[in-house]
Structure formats: structure tokens, C-alpha cells
Symmetry: C2
Subunit: 194 residues, 2 copies
Amino acid sequence: MIRNRVDLAKVHRSFYPQVSVVIMVEANGHVGVMPAIWCMPLSFNPPLIGIALAPEHETCHMIRKTRAFTINWLDYSHARQVGELGEISGREFADKLAAVKLTTVKSKGNSQPLIQEASAVLECQVREERRTGTHELITGEVVEAYAADCFHDYWDFSKYNPLLYAGTEEKEGKSWRFLSIQRTTMRVPFKHEG
Amino acid sequence: MIRNRVDLAKVHRSFYPQVSVVIMVEANGHVGVMPAIWCMPLSFNPPLIGIALAPEHETCHMIRKTRAFTINWLDYSHARQVGELGEISGREFADKLAAVKLTTVKSKGNSQPLIQEASAVLECQVREERRTGTHELITGEVVEAYAADCFHDYWDFSKYNPLLYAGTEEKEGKSWRFLSIQRTTMRVPFKHEG
């Protein structure tokens, strides 16, 4: 039951939990990598996706320059590594992925880097970019898509454990907060169709 | 490990699971209501959100006309009702919410309808709209936000069980597929900050 007013600076948290993805891009031999959660589909055909990034991030600059990037889904078992990727900056580590023991490989479609340990990867070309308040909304067209054996038409959630981001928390030291799904799923049958 | 090519018509499924929300709007005394999952924040300040809707849906038409709407989060305990809202059309039921035993109330901020049983509600004004392939991307500014007692600064996931949509499935009759979270959460401490 709705009772309390929410501070408008915190409304983005009502969207939690959100699956965490890792964005990768290469420009001039330098690899940019950052976790992101403001990312969703925008169209079935052509397959468009939208990603809203903080424009001051190096990875955002690189994507706007290169006009291509990859979206990588890592399983819950990689939670620590994704958290660490969110903390270390490209200036500190020449190879951020290697620093968290993940492997960079080159994609076939758009020559952009991707994560070998990922459960799924989308290769995207930038189609549009525009500023929306504090963030840059980048529209990408998916030109190639790959997945591990845990995805055939749909995710097999008995094999793939999505990494659900639920914000950071301050108690007992600042930390990333991730949720896991139950292995059981609920089916709600269609009443009116099929 | 990435092995298999994914059909580009199915890439939107790599984003599963996604929290299901319910969009509501009133135009000329008629209430539009539909579940949605392509919805995310686009900016902290001003608080902007983006929602991509199929433009042929009556609710999408109404939002573009009224220039206001609400986003409602219903708990996992309402999974069946959200699934049913996705099936029944406004033409069949004068009051879709009542048809699934949910209660419509009026918001204070923008006079738009909201769901009394919701765990959180955002009241939005349309700031921009543009076509992205098959969908209409509507940018809304959040003008008011409310939540139940399960949200204070963050969701309390011991009280709030998010409704995670994982697609529809065909086996044993077509059905909506929802996932639940485990009650346990994982904390990944910051190494480099605080």
C-alpha cells in the first residue's frame, strides 16, 4: 500500500534489481570496460538497444568516438569481478579485464572486444546519441549476438544465474549489493490465448 | 563460454529477467493500463525515465495524448494479475484493474491513475517521444514518487519480492514466466573506497 513520499533523487532505485552488464569498446588500441545497468531493448526489428551512460566516463567517450561496442552478460558467479570492474579506472590498469582475471577476445562482427567468460554478448553499432539530463543515451543496433550453451531461444535458468544489481550499501563499509534468483520459476498460464 | 550465434530476432531475451511494471494513464475519463518491461532510468537530475512501448497499443496512444502517466511496481504476489493485465484489452473491460481485483486511485501530482496495491509508483510527465524501430521511446520526467513501507532509501527485499519477467513459454500451453529472488543477498565490499 502506497504511503510514503520518495525523494526524487532516489527514484532510480525503484527499478532495482536490474541485471548488470559489462560494456566494452576499443579505440586506438586502448580497451574501455565498465559495468552498466541502465540498458534495455528499444526495438525488435531492427534490433535496437538503448544504454544510458555517465558522459564523463572514459568508456562513454570511447563509444562515441568508435561508434561501436559490445554488451556482455556475466553470470552471478562473477559478481566480485563485476564489482571490481566498477571501481578500477582505465588509468590505473592497462588491462582492466586481466586485472580481475577475465579474458578479452575480439568479436567477429565489428572488431570490438568482448569477454570470453560471458554468458551472452551483443555487438552493437551506434545509431544515435543524445543527452538526457545527467546521462548520454546511446542507441545501438545489434549486428551480431552470441551466447553460451545456457541460452537457446531463452535463457536456461537452471544453468545461468543472472547477476542482479540492487545498489550499493553503506553499512559495515561500502559494498555492491547483488541478488540471486531462486532456481524455481513460476508459470502463469495464458487464459485467453493458445 | 561464448559458442553459439543468437538469432537477432531474439536478442531482447538476453536482457531477461527484467522487473515487470504496470503503466497507467487516463484520457477523457478512460483508463489505459498495460504491463511493460522496457523501462529504465535515463537521468538522476532531472529524474528522467525511458519507456519503450509498442505504438499500436491503446495505452501508448493515450500517453502521447495526455502527456502524463504512472509507473507502478507490483510485488511477485501479484504475478497472476500482471499476466492477466497483459492479456485483456481495454475494449473488453471498462475497468481492467477491477477485472483483476486491483484498485485504481488518483495520484496527487498529475491527476493520473495509480494502483493502490503497488509497492512503488512514479508519476511522470512526457518530455519527449520518438520512434526507435518497432517501438515508441517515451521520455518521462518523474514529478512525484511514492512507495509502500518496503522502500526506505532502498527496497527492503525481505519485504518486497520483485516480479521478474522471463518471457513467455509455449510448452504445456502458452504461459508467462516469472522468477523470484532468493531471500539472501550477496554483498561485495568495495576494495578501493570507503
